[in-house]
Structures are given as C-alpha cells and as structure tokens.
Symmetry: none
Subunit: 225 residues, 2 copies
Amino acid sequence: MPRILIVDDEPEMVRGLEDNLRFEGYQTLSATDGRRGLALALSEAPDLLLLDIMMPGMSGWDICRELRAKGLDIPVIMLTARGEEADRVQGLELGADDYVTKPFGLRELLARIRAVLRRPGPRQKFEEFAFGDVRIRLRGRQAFRAGREVRLTRKEFDLLRYLVEHRGEVITRDRLLEEVWGYEQFPTTRTVDTHILRLRQKFERDPEHPVYILTAHGQGYRFAG
Amino acid sequence: MPRILIVDDEPEMVRGLEDNLRFEGYQTLSATDGRRGLALALSEAPDLLLLDIMMPGMSGWDICRELRAKGLDIPVIMLTARGEEADRVQGLELGADDYVTKPFGLRELLARIRAVLRRPGPRQKFEEFAFGDVRIRLRGRQAFRAGREVRLTRKEFDLLRYLVEHRGEVITRDRLLEEVWGYEQFPTTRTVDTHILRLRQKFERDPEHPVYILTAHGQGYRFAG
DNA sequence: GTAGATTTGACAGGACCGTGACACCGGCGG
DNA sequence: CCGCCGGTGTCACGGTCCTGTCAAATCTAC
C-alpha cells in the first residue's frame, strides 16, 4: 500500500488525516513542521505528500521547491486555507499535482489521492494534453502552439483546463464561475465571455469560427470532444 | 429536482433554509432534532443532507456515522458554528462532503450544494440514447444523424429529450409547456407545434410522414416506442 | 509608481423563440 | 358521400435575448 507523508502544523488535522488514511489502508508518516517534513520526505521517499501551505518557518511550497531542486519527483497535494488563491497558483507552479481547500471533505481528498497515485510515475512531469497543434503542460502551466509558447494568464489557464477536463460537456457560465473563479468571488457572467474570447484568439485557427471552444447558445460553453 | 433534508435544532434556521432552497427549486424535508432527522434520512432517501453539528441529543456527526454504518452514501454538508475546529476534524472522520461555517451567505451555500450534487454519484445517468440513425448525447447536448452533427437549439433539445424520455406516452401540449418550458412562461400551444415541426425536419427521413415524432390528434404528441 | 491581469459596460449583430396567417387534414353528423 | 369545424402543418416575420467584441476602468503584483 502506498505511503503518504502528511505535513501540517495543526496536530489535530494531522491526527485526523492519519487516522482516516490508515483506515483506508494507506501507510502514513507525519510531521508538524516544515523542516522535519522535508527531512522525512528525503529519507523515507514516500509515494505522496500532503503539504499544508501555511506553516511557520518552512512552508509547504518551500518543501516542494526543495524536493524538486533535488530532483525528487514525489507527487504533492497542497492543503490550502480557503481563499488563498495566490498560494494555490504558486503551489502548482512549483510542481504540486493538486490542491485541496480547507475545510475539505474526506471523500474529496481520497478521490484526489487516488487520482494522483493512479498517474504513471515517471511520466508525471510531462503530464499534458493536446488538441490540434496546441499542447498544454499542466505542471508548468504552459501552452504551446505549433511548438511556440503562448503565454496564458492564470484565469485563462484555469478556465481552459476546466473546459478540457470536462470536454464534451456543456457548462453554464455560472458553473464556470463557481468552479474556476471560486465560491467567494462573483464576477459578472460577461467576464466568462471575455476570457473565452481571449482563449479563442490564442488557440483557434479562425477565432470567429471556433472548432474547440464552442458556444452552446443560451446554455454555456463546451470544449469539443 | 433534488430533495434536500435539513436537520438543525434552530427552527428559524430550518425555516430560512427551506424557504430559500424551495425558491431555488429544490424539494425540502426537515427535522429539528437529530433522531427524527436520521429517521427521515433513512425512510426518504433524500439526495443531500444539510446537518447542523451542534444539536442536543443526536448531533450531526452522529447522524452521519449512523448513515455510513448502514452503507448509505448520501452526500452531506455540515453546518458548523465559527471556530468549531474540533468539529471539523470529527466531521472529516465521518465522511462529510463539505462544510459551511455559520453565519454563511446563501449564495455560497447554494454554490456548495450544486457542487456536491454535481459530483459523479454512484448512479451514473444515461449518457446517450438513439433512434434510427440518430444519436443524442446528453452531456454535450448534441445530436448526430448518420454520424454528422445536427445543431439543436436549447428548446429543441429539451423538447426532444422530454419526448424520448417518455417514449410511448401521449403528452399534451399543456404538459409539454409546463415541463419543458417551465411554469413561469406561458407561450401559446402553437409554439409547441412549431418546435415539433423543426424537430421533424431535422430528424425524420420524411418529415411529412413522421415515424418517430408522432401526432396524437386532439391529444398531443408521442414519441414512438 | 508601472505593467499586466481582470472585470465591467456598451454596443452591434445574430440566434432563437413565439406568433399569426393560411392551408390542409381528420373526424363527425347529416 | 358531403360539408363543416376544430385541430394541425407550415412558413415567414418581428421582437427579444444572447453572444462577440472592444475599450475603458479597476485591481494586483511587483
């Protein structure tokens, strides 16, 4: 069974997580500060890391960066407090594989753990998807078109990613706002349109007649598939 | 529409939630103590539970534990008072799906309800159906005829879907207006005819002699089957 | 502060929906 | 068998709502 290292400065959170993960059959290790967490990660080489971001001293992304710098490719799921948008992005940029917002449901966490562990290990850093002559690298949050990099802003990337991960499905603007923008932000639905517009300009051969990023009139948007 | 069970010992909270959720189109059940809440959950099998954690007698997480012990996998959103850190962990142990901290915004609660209900549950709904050389994809709200996509407007799709889901049954225009158009709108019954016409033109081999979308003279329409 | 990202508002064009007009059909009573 | 009459098929028009697009305003990170 996979071994999971938990690093969080709140002891109750660590205990709760350990109990549950063990109950699910995982082996667990834990630390309540960043430095010991990093040491454990290096010495024990677990299969997965659950890292709290906000920790005194060494933060979750400090650990993540150190690991990557040493060439270790252990999958990482970040635990972020609600609304730490910046942290979430930073974590992903530094090579986290996923993030969960506190307070989170156990089932959601387990689903994400399974999803991350399911991925083929060594190929992980190449995780990407492609359509037409476009290639998207999830890890680096980068996009390439015909081999040339296309710069994407945060929202553009998140939106594109969400659409692609639900390809074939019609998604309403409201749902996009909830899932991509988040609970506590409530921009206009027109905002979605503007971002769709920019994605089309960057990735569609003929932006006025999109082939991938499609409109479902009166319903929302849909990525072809 | 999904049915939601609310369990909270504060009657005003229950009433407020019921009013708002009903306004949003959900069906609601409620109880003001844990034991009756559990009984309702077991007998009514709602689609979602909103559980207050702090209740005299049987608490929210007691209910949750009992349900899980009986193998019921109904999604649960916990309502927690601010700062009940311990409760959060306990809830996590017992498999709640999400948390909302009181006092909460209605909008946030609704967003979380939608998010939880959206998750792929144990029951996967029909992905698509077919008749003749026509294939309908529900997720993408798309239709294909002989492998070629046929564009459908929202009303056309909704109408077709309703007819097919009640295949073999004669449905009056008034019922179609209620079910497909919605109770708020009052178009003429002739509007239905027009949409039927368009569906026939798109899907019948010989639109003047329909084989699938049939007329029940003086009664309504019926999808063959 | 500046540069870049995000959001908003305005506007035009287009898609969609609903309606009315008229032709046609089916059933009914004579 | 015939004619009546309400129900239905069909079409095209107009209004309404939705979306694409842009520029300006606001926000954010540095």
